[in-house]
Amino acid sequence: MKFLCVSCDEQMKLKHAVGPDGGSVAVVYACPRCSSEMAMMMNPHETQVVGSLGVRIGPEAGAEAGTATSKCPFTGMLTDLGVPAAATGQVGGGQGVAGNGESASIPWTSEARERMANIPDIVRTSAVAGIEKFALDHGYEEVDAAVLERARTFFGIA
């Protein structure tokens, strides 16, 4: 989607975003020539449809950063614009490893947490739960790369 300032015949540039609020995000664009502003307001359905495509909306660098761990398609945009990660459901910031707001039952090292980006987001919560159960059952106090390795051996996974 592109936005054109009709008066100036100039592509408008992303300026800032408001939200998310109940699944809705308002994104403000401004014309670089005349400074006119407009806001694109997305309802939850539009947000959901964009999210279903598996792409991120926003400046490229932020979009890439948000791809692996966030459920919100506007994470890239919001991260770039300084919206706190917790508001977008990203990993970190006190959120559980699965990024769903659940508290982890055992601490995770940052390396182990980062490796969970290799698990599809929709099933990451159940994967985290299975790994934490393995770790607790075997007396580990923290999930690190070595625990992930031992879990693979235990479950006979390549």
Binding site: Q11, E60, N100
Partner: protein, 290 residues
């Protein structure tokens, strides 16, 4: 006034670039797979999943490296068939580690991740309208699985498709032109009609339909050690399709109970011979067209 195509870029998201990078990730992850064979039908309940598992085991008996990807995200069976329920997905050195059965067959199934008492749920900010976006989300998950799993070197990746003629076509588009298809039917005109629709849907694609397998082609009676009719005389003729039949597999009650228990070894008998024949046909036809 400028048109859409006069304005370069897309406002900063690089959506097309993201899609291309996603395709590159999938191609990279699948680079070690020689053949992708999707097992479909269009019709539900004809035994696609059981046959997929049996074909994989038969191909392994023929010294081919195999893995199964369960594309039936809403009714996944492969985890139970493989005895891989409650085995968590784990990150590997390169992507997601490939879960394996005790004998080493790689099996990726949502059934390993979602207990049978639950259904696959996607978080949504637009509750009540799942029909609008659900299919898109499912294909996105399927593509994530294709691109994230560390498949390693494989001779065959068998993809167990969900029912639906339109789904068969959609999976052909997602898997790409090199993916081949095997369709499963049973000896009934009703099933034949639906399978014919799937075959018709694939006609407009570059994908090769290797042939079809007629499942439940009679049942094996262990008492008399013979195969008897299951759907009545003349049913087999009514189920003929206009492309090669790879094998006719009789129903074997021993397989049904073993599959439920996650021990899919098929005892010796007509069904095992038919499965091995189907695998041999697949190997032969793939060799001819590669």
């Amino acid at each position: 006034m400028k048109t859409y195509f006069d304005v370069e870029g897309d406002g900063g998201s690089d959506v097309l670039g993201q899609v291309l990078r996603q395709r590159e990730r999938i191609a990279h992850a699948m680079a070690g797979i020689d053949h992708v064979v999707a097992i479909g039908s269009g019709k539900g309940g004809v035994g696609k999943s059981t046959l997929t598992m049996q074909l994989a085991l038969a191909l392994e008996r023929a010294k081919r490296r195999c893995a199964i990807l369960d594309a039936d995200l809403n009714g996944p069976c492969q985890a139970r068939l493989a005895g891989l329920e409650n085995v968590p997905l784990l990150p590997g050195d390169r992507g997601m580690a490939l879960p394996r059965t005790l004998r080493g067959l790689g099996v990726v199934s949502v059934g390993s991740m979602v207990p049978e008492a639950k259904h696959l749920e996607f978080e949504s900010v637009a509750e009540g309208d799942t029909h609008v976006w659900r299919a898109t989300r499912e294909f996105n998950l399927f593509q994530q699985l294709l691109g994230l799993v560390d498949w390693g070197r494989l001779d065959f990746l068998l993809v167990d498709l969900p029912p639906g003629a339109e789904r068969t076509l959609q999976y052909a588009e997602v898997l790409g032109p090199a993916a081949r298809f095997v369709l499963v039917t049973i000896p009934s005109a009703l099933a034949r009609g639906v399978v014919a629709r799937s075959a018709a849907a694939l006609e407009g694609t570059p994908n090769e339909v290797i042939g079809y397998i007629e499942n439940m082609s009679g049942y094996y009676c262990g008492t008399c050690d013979g195969v008897r009719s299951l759907f009545g005389e003349g049913a087999a003729e009514a189920a003929e399709l206009g492309f090669p039949c790879l094998a006719r597999v009789p129903f074997d009650p021993r397989l049904a109970s073993a599959s439920d228990a996650g021990e899919p070894d098929l005892p010796r008998g007509p069904a095992l011979r038919a499965i091995d024949e189907a695998a041999a046909q697949i190997l032969s036809r793939v060799a001819k067209t590669t």
